[in-house]
């Protein structure tokens, strides 16, 4: 896209005056003015390549009128453009005919048939008969570009959308054209498949059926598809999607283009995880994530047996009702909708009176920090002058957020200061790297914000500091004096390190750079919505502390917790020690997600009762007393909240299997069984209750959410951003979207009302994000490791052993085995080589694992990904070394070769 400013130019388009933004391509300006110029290679989210030549128009210039590609040439002041002359028509028809000459026209067996721009253009303008009587070019069809993407070279029209996406948007130029003339073909490099987390986007934007993705191939015909717009809950980025189904099964997800979040892109995990919904759930063990939970179950004589809902509800209600509030707790909730989260909080905190509710699984951040820091939006972060990355690897954790942030740095608008230890997605684009070893983040931040002593402390590490004075000088220059234009991404870069270090570092940045804003990179689905709904000890719904909770809540809540409850780790310990008797586990897989295997094992095998609310199997489900089947992902409506605080709607596309219910329904039934009433007769009732009882969500009613101005979601509190109408979609930008006849959310009714914020909110961006107070800074001592130990770093991988990946056959095959990555220097010290097996020993336990050298891993550290199994295994390997009771994990490594 050419740079657009607020300046405008006026030009003549087919005889009428049209105003364009300065630098705007003719094709885009014409489109806004209602003239649609045909196109193939142009994509509004990518640089124009101007090579298909379909968009030729006549432009009058000093040398007479010439044919110019309207996607590439910017509208200029006084320019005279003609899009409908005979010359233009002949050139465009010529291009179309050329494109068809070698095209196989196997539309009847092509997945694109029915939603194909080439087909559509041909029907509209094309010749009725072909003049091409020669032999068409032939290729073996199809060939695999990767495990997910197949290429039919006969159908390819060489538009270069896929290759440009890979290079320009994903920064992974793994596909390119090979050959010359009409034998040009899209190709991978020898021995390097197109293994990209974003490969599905190339399929989405391919204007013909040349690229297909294995999960959708031959799954449906476009005219049989039914679609609804929704939000991906694969992670907390919250990409807008169209969920398409055929015969009651989800068949495909397409990214919807929103200016605010995903620009139309999705990651492959978000795109293909739907496969898990369609799994034939009953074939697997209860502990297997591929198992769908389709019926309520109650443990009878030691076995979980299917029962009716009323039986299960009554059993769960008696467990909850007959236990003292301080002995009841709940773990999880990030996979819930906002409505589910609000309903559960109301039941747990407001009906039962326990405050031991925690949506995070010992792998998150202090919620008062998350909610207390000034928040940035994704757009603000993408447009920041300086971005400080103090989080895990965003490509692994929040893939499309990474695409948005990378764009700024790749075009050299933003400078990135990357504090990651180990390979990071920003390796190629970061302006400065200040790798922070576990425990070092506060010192690195101190050094960054002007404390020269901190540099000396860092240098005391046996292997020295990980960066030099030049790097710190450059970084200091980039952050400036008060943090204006600085956005900080905070998250957990390692689960082998106490969150306190990054939390303290974030607080220190906030103190030193008061104008800086923060984007909390908590990754799990709707974790931000769950925190907003009060699913953390000490919090009430609406980003307020329990003490500050509005008295109006008493209209809904019959009780209010009297003391601060337990976090997840504390609850697990209390279960082990007998202090917590009943635990509701909300969609969480404790065995896989909590970074302390021992503790989980002890809690699960204690005699504390577990009420598991779940859509998929897990070891937690298998250990439960009562199992309540829940509708998940595209089986439910409601709203979800992403990491910038944007509330957007979920569209229900399919019905949940068997007897699964939406959470608000089970909560309502449980409350009733417990002798109170939660006034939720419908999902809309819950949404509207949130708009009343949660201060941060005031005014966010179903009618506002249903308005066209809320199509891209709404950042709460209202007034944070100006609402706008979504611009009309270009049918060529996302071909499959335009072809399905209906897009939209059906669930809500209601019209735009006077409460709809509009232009009047302009400039009202000083709205406080929340009323939660920031925590105090604590003094932290990280111990310098002895010269023999390596400090463990354990970050996330996109393809891990989590439910979403494990339950989707296409994705599960892509998970790479766990290895230990160390700097070549440390490898040398222990006399091992890449590929050798080593024994690692922490205070907690030992493991034997393959080792690999990695130049990005700082000396003195060892990196093993979290929730990834060793080759052929499905257990989270690194758990053998982790211990949630220590601040950092030091390990000794010895070579076994």
């Amino acid at each position: 896209m050419p740079e657009s400013t607020n300046e405008t130019v006026t030009f003549t388009l087919d005889g009428r005056e049209v105003v364009a933004k300065k630098g705007e391509a003719i094709i885009a300006a014409a489109e806004r003015a209602g003239t649609y110029i045909p196109r193939f290679c142009y994509h509004p989210r990518m640089e124009a390549s101007g090579n298909c030549r379909m968009c030729l128009v006549e432009v009058e210039g000093p040398r007479g009128s010439t044919l110019m590609p309207s996607c590439f040439v910017a509208a200029g002041e006084g320019m005279n453009v003609c899009t409908n002359s005979d010359k233009v028509k002949k050139a465009q028809d010529g291009v179309l005919e050329f494109l068809l000459s070698n095209h196989p026209l196997d539309c009847p067996v092509c997945d694109k048939g029915g939603e194909c721009p080439l087909q559509d253009q041909t029907l509209l303008h094309g010749p009725g008969e072909t003049r091409f009587v020669e032999e068409k070019r032939h290729y073996e069809k199809p060939i695999a570009l990767s495990e997910l993407v197949l290429l039919d070279r006969e159908r390819c029209i060489q538009c270069g959308r896929c290759t440009r996406f890979a290079d320009e948007i994903a920064g992974e130029p793994l596909i390119d054209f090979a050959g010359r003339g009409d034998r040009v073909e899209v190709s991978t490099f020898p021995g390097e498949p197109f293994s990209s987390y974003y490969s599905g986007n190339t399929v989405q934007i391919c204007p013909v059926g040349a690229l297909t993705a294995t999960p959708y191939r031959f799954a449906a015909r476009p005219w049989d598809l039914d679609q609804v717009e929704s939000t991906c809950t694969g992670c907390a980025t919250g990409c807008r999607v169209a969920v398409q189904s055929s015969q009651g099964r989800v068949t495909r997800l397409l990214g919807v283009d929103t200016d605010t979040v995903n620009h139309g892109w999705l990651c492959d995990k978000g795109r293909f995880a739907f496969e898990g919904l369609n799994a034939d759930g009953d074939d697997f063990e209860l502990s297997d994530p591929r198992r769908r939970i389709t019926s309520p179950m109650v443990r009878t004589n030691g076995e979980l047996v299917a029962v009716s809902w009323s039986e299960a509800i009554s059993r769960a209600a008696s467990l909850l009702g007959e236990t003292a509030p301080e002995s009841v707790g709940a773990i999880g909730g990030a996979s819930l909708t906002n409505e589910g989260a609000f309903a559960w909080t109301s039941l747990l905190k407001g009906v039962l009176g326990t405050d031991s509710v925690d949506a995070q699984l010992g792998d998150g951040l202090d919620p008062s920090l998350v909610l207390g820091l000034p928040r940035a939006t994704i757009n603000e972060a993408a447009d920041a002058c300086t971005l400080i990355v103090l989080s895990g690897d965003l490509r692994e954790e929040l893939p499309v957020l990474f695409l948005r942030l990378r764009a700024g740095a790749a075009t050299k608008k933003a400078s990135i200061i990357d504090l990651s230890n180990g390979s990071s997605c920003f390796d190629k684009v970061a302006a400065v790297r200040l790798p922070a070893r576990p425990g070092d983040a506060p010192q690195v931040v101190a050094a960054l914000t002007g404390d020269d002593e901190a540099m000396k402390v860092l240098a005391r590490h046996p292997e020295g500091a990980t960066f030099d004075a030049d790097a710190i000088a450059k970084a200091r220059h980039l952050v400036g004096s008060d943090g204006t234009g600085v956005v900080v991404v905070i998250g957990r870069s390692s689960l082998a390190e106490d969150a306190a270090f990054v939390e303290d570092a974030a607080l220190a940045l906030h103190q030193a750079l008061p104008k800086a804003t923060f984007l909390p990179a908590l990754r799990r689905a709707n974790v931000h919505g769950a925190l907003d709904m009060g699913m953390s000890p000490g919090l009430a719904p609406g980003r307020v502390s329990m003490e500050d909770a509005a008295s109006s809540l008493s209209a809904l809540w019959t009780k209010k917790p009297t003391s601060t409850g337990r976090t997840t780790l504390e609850q697990l310990r209390a279960m082990d020690q007998g202090a917590q008797r009943v635990t509701v586990v909300l969609g969480a897989d404790l065995g896989a997600d909590v970074p302390d295997a021992d503790l989980v094992q002890r809690a699960l095998s204690s005699d504390a009762a577990i009420i598991a609310v779940a859509g998929n199997g897990s070891t937690t489900v298998a250990a439960a007393e009562v199992v309540l089947p829940a509708a998940i992902s595209h089986e439910r409506g409601g709203t979800t909240t992403n990491l910038e605080g944007r509330v957007s709607r979920l569209g229900q596309k399919v019905v949940a299997p068997g007897d699964a219910w939406e959470d608000w329904m089970m909560v309502t039934e449980l409350a009733h069984e417990l002798g109170t009433t939660l006034p939720f007769g419908s999902l809309d009732d819950v949404t509207n209750a949130i708009a009343v009882y949660a201060p941060s969500h005031h005014g966010l009613t179903t009618s506002l959410l249903a308005s066209s101005q809320a199509s891209d979601g709404v950042v709460v509190p209202l007034g944070t951003e100006t609402l706008h109408e979504r611009k009309a979609a270009d049918p060529m930008a996302i071909p499959g979207l335009a072809s399905a006849d209906h897009i939209g959310l059906g669930a809500f009714t209601g019209s735009i009302t006077s409460e709809t914020p509009s232009e009047s909110n302009q400039g009202a961006s000083e709205v406080a994000f929340s009323q939660v107070r920031l925590p105090e800074r604590r003094a932290l001592n990280a111990v310098v490791p002895d010269g023999y130990a390596l400090r463990l770093v354990s970050g996330r991988k996109l393809y891990d052993l989590g439910t979403a990946v494990s339950a989707s056959p296409a994705l599960a095959a892509l998970a790479a085995p766990a290895v230990a990555k160390v700097n070549a220097y440390d490898l040398d010290r222990i006399g091992a080589h890449s590929g050798d097996r080593v024994r690692l020993r922490s205070q907690k336990g030992t493991m034997i694992i393959a080792v690999e050298s990695d130049a990005h891993v700082a000396r003195g550290t060892v990196a093993i990904d979290f929730n990834v199994g060793q080759a052929g295994e499905t257990t989270n390997a690194v758990l053998a070394l982790l211990d949630s009771s220590v601040a950092v994990v030091d390990v000794r490594m010895e070579s076994l070769s």
Binding site: G50, T66, E134, E135, G181, D182
Partner: protein, 433 residues
């Protein structure tokens, strides 16, 4: 190689068997032009080149002096020498790089000094195995003798030259594709605007791209003055030019001739030049490379000058002249040229990529007696969809001019030799076969 009595500017040294050696170079005035240039200001050198009216020898014939003046002022800028020469029947730079690489290096150094660039690249056709060796030797010699590197001949001016072999794609001769290839990318012509590498060139920096022959003229121009060069030839076509003569002539070869002073007929028929057509007579000639519209016997007396040829609706282009005698099958000739373009299209633009292949297949059918009457209109209409109006210079629907060059031979052949096409169709075979 045959030579005439005309003044020799760039092939003077080539008459010696050891013309490629440093010894011969130094013994025959080597580096004199460079040494003189270094005593002048860069502006003064530019002024001489401007006065010489040296037209680019790579095909487009753009005045070198004017191109240099367009170089955007910047901290870093480059000179890139185009030695890709991959068009069929074009082989004049081949001679220069093999027989007088030192002259080329001297010319490049003079140009770099005039432009004040400190890094130059010579992009040579990869198949020029000997040429690559000789140019590298000449560069090594220049470094050794102080004619290249830091502080050249004590002048304070420094230059490095890197030789880059092409990988066998004709399109890399197009200057923007060449720059992409130099950057290590796929050789795709860049989309215009920007129209000139002088504004945005190699690695985004201002860059002058000139042909090998253009560069080779510089030592003489500096030594003898722009006016002396301009005194040769006539009108805008000054100095001498290399003509690569091939096809149905007795003495194919490279000839250096004063511009405009000779005609196509002289070149083809003079006993000391082409020596005439051995079998039959001239049926058609390609006056300036396979992109150029053809000439016929009645045009043989046109002088060998840029504007003189352009006025007749074709181009002198790269100076390669192909003679086709009366026994030539024009359908086959058009097919052969089209096949070349179809293989060498870079494949970016639909009209060029698909059009070239389609045209080639139709022509092949015709040549093999499987043509249909409607094929002639089809061919012309497809050509019109690549180069609307079929004029010369062509209008284009594509990114570079390779595409719009494809119709030239087809249009020429059908316009002039329609009967031959019809004979192929009615006889069901090639009448010449």
């Amino acid at each position: 190689m045959s030579l005439t009595d005309a003044p020799k500017i760039i092939t003077a040294r080539a008459q010696y068997d050891d013309s490629h050696t440093l010894e011969r170079f130094l013994a025959t005035g080597g580096n004199d032009g460079l040494k003189k240039a270094l005593t002048m200001t860069p502006e003064a050198v530019q002024a001489e080149v401007d006065a010489a009216s040296l037209l680019g020898r790579g095909g487009a014939g753009f005045p070198a002096g004017r191109k240099w003046a367009m170089l955007r002022k910047a901290d870093v800028s480059y000179l890139v020498v185009n030695g890709d020469e991959s068009e069929p029947a074009t082989f004049k730079d081949h001679l220069l790089v093999e027989r007088d690489a030192h002259q080329l290096v001297e010319g490049v150094t003079i140009a770099s000094y005039a432009l004040q660039v400190n890094q130059a690249f010579i992009f040579l056709r990869g198949e020029f195995a000997l040429g690559l060796e000789r140019v590298q030797e000449a560069i090594n010699d220049a470094y050794k003798t102080g004619a290249l590197g830091t502080n050249i001949f004590g002048s304070g001016f420094s230059l490095d030259i890197v030789v880059h072999p092409g990988a066998g794609a004709y399109i890399c001769g197009e200057e923007t594709a060449l720059l992409e290839a130099l950057e290590g990318k796929r050789g795709y012509p860049r989309i215009k605007p920007p129209f000139f590498p002088a504004a945005i060139g190699l690695y985004g920096e201002p860059t002058v791209v000139n042909n090998v022959e253009t560069m080779s003229n510089l030592p003489w121009i500096v030594l003898n003055g722009g006016a002396a060069f301009a005194a040769l030839g006539a009108g805008r076509s000054t100095g001498t030019r290399l003509f690569a003569l091939s096809g149905h002539v007795r003495n194919p070869g490279v000839y250096e001739l004063e511009m405009v002073k000779h005609t196509f007929r002289d070149l083809i028929f003079s006993p000391e030049l082409g020596g005439g057509v051995p079998n039959g007579d001239v049926k058609a000639i390609i006056p300036g490379g396979v992109s150029a519209p053809w000439f016929y016997p009645e045009q043989l007396d046109i002088p060998l000058g840029q504007d003189e040829v352009a006025e007749q609706g074709s181009m002198l282009g790269s100076g390669s002249i192909v003679v086709m005698d009366t026994n030539t099958c024009m359908v086959r000739a058009a097919w052969r040229i089209t096949k070349f373009f179809s293989r060498e299209s870079c494949g970016q633009c639909t009209p060029c990529r698909e059009g070239s292949g389609w045209l080639e297949r139709v022509l092949w059918r015709l040549e093999n007696g499987q043509g249909r009457m409607e094929d002639l209109d089809l061919l012309l209409d497809l050509c019109d969809n690549i180069a609307p109006g079929l004029g010369w210079p062509p209008q284009q629907t594509t990114i570079c001019v390779l595409g719009p060059s494809i119709p030239s031979s087809i249009h020429s052949a059908i316009s002039r030799f329609r009967d031959e096409f019809l004979a192929h169709i009615t006889q069901g075979k090639c009448p010449h076969a």
